[in-house]
């Protein structure tokens, strides 16, 4: 199951049984939006339309940014599978370090148990004001990490040399 997860606040203060019925119990973190990459669970999750928009990112000169659904999907899939193989190797290394069978965690990597989420954090707390999510949680202004759960989480980052 993949797709877009709208801009909202992930509340880490919930403990597991909290939350209203039908509402997922998220971890703490702050305001962000995300895109879950899950190619093994279906193909409808990927956008289909090419769009060119004006860059809304504050603090930059206004430029046109194009979105190409074909390259987006192929990059997501390539990235997902690369990270999955990295996870497979590292889980094997961890298992070996623990003194258990190196393939102990193999089963956890099948059937889309691994999960990849692109996360977009907002640069300024200001940018969340006026949104629907913020109206529902007016006291929440933190910008932070999304919940990370599971056996092992990899966080990719790049250094922008500008």
């Amino acid at each position: 199951m993949g797709g877009y997860e709208g801009f909202r606040f992930y509340d880490l203060t919930k403990t597991g049984d909290g939350g209203k019925k039908g509402e997922e119990d998220d971890g703490d973190g702050g305001w962000n939006e995300g895109f879950a990459i899950a190619p093994e669970w279906g193909t409808n999750c990927f956008p289909k339309t090419a769009v060119t928009v004006e860059d809304p990112d504050k603090g930059r000169p206004s430029v046109l940014v194009s979105f190409n659904p074909v390259t987006f999907e192929s990059t997501c899939k390539a990235y997902f599978h690369a990270m999955q193989e990295l996870g497979r190797y590292i889980l094997g290394v961890i298992a070996e370090g623990l003194g258990i069978e190196p393939d102990f965690f193999e089963g956890y990597l099948d059937k889309q148990n691994s999960f990849c989420r692109l996360t977009h954090y907002y640069r300024e707390a200001e940018s969340i004001k006026g949104t629907e999510s913020h109206r529902n949680n007016p006291s929440k202004v933190e910008i932070g990490a999304a919940p990370h759960t599971g056996k092992v989480t990899f966080i990719s980052r790049i250094v922008l040399l500008t």
Partner: protein, 99 residues
């Protein structure tokens, strides 16, 4: 300085904090070395940073993924909503959708 070098602080119960560098685990070394290094990092700092991961994921792919992600998130909300993972009801997240 290597822009990827990470530093952190270890706090003791007495309140003292000691700076430390997040250990780097190279995947370009033989597996048995990686096993030892990762185990040591997990037992000491509790954090580690993987380096030399080109075999698994290239720098180009990571940069490309960031670029594509930026382009996606800049789409208008109406476009992103078309692939929404959530159904919303009365401003409340109620269920997962879209398989």
């Amino acid at each position: 300085m290597d822009p990827f070098t990470q530093t952190g602080y270890l706090s003791s119960p007495s309140g003292a904090s000691t700076p430390f560098e997040v250990p780097k685990i190279s995947l370009a070394t033989p597996r048995e070395h990686t096993v030892g290094a990762l185990r040591h990092a997990a037992l000491t700092s509790g954090f580690f940073q993987l380096v030399d991961i080109e075999t698994y994921v290239s720098s180009e792919l990571i940069v490309q993924m960031f670029d594509e992600a930026r382009r996606f998130f800049q789409l208008p909300a109406s476009e992103k909503a078309k692939v929404s993972l959530w159904f919303r009801r009365k401003d409340e997240v109620v269920t997962m959708a879209l398989i």
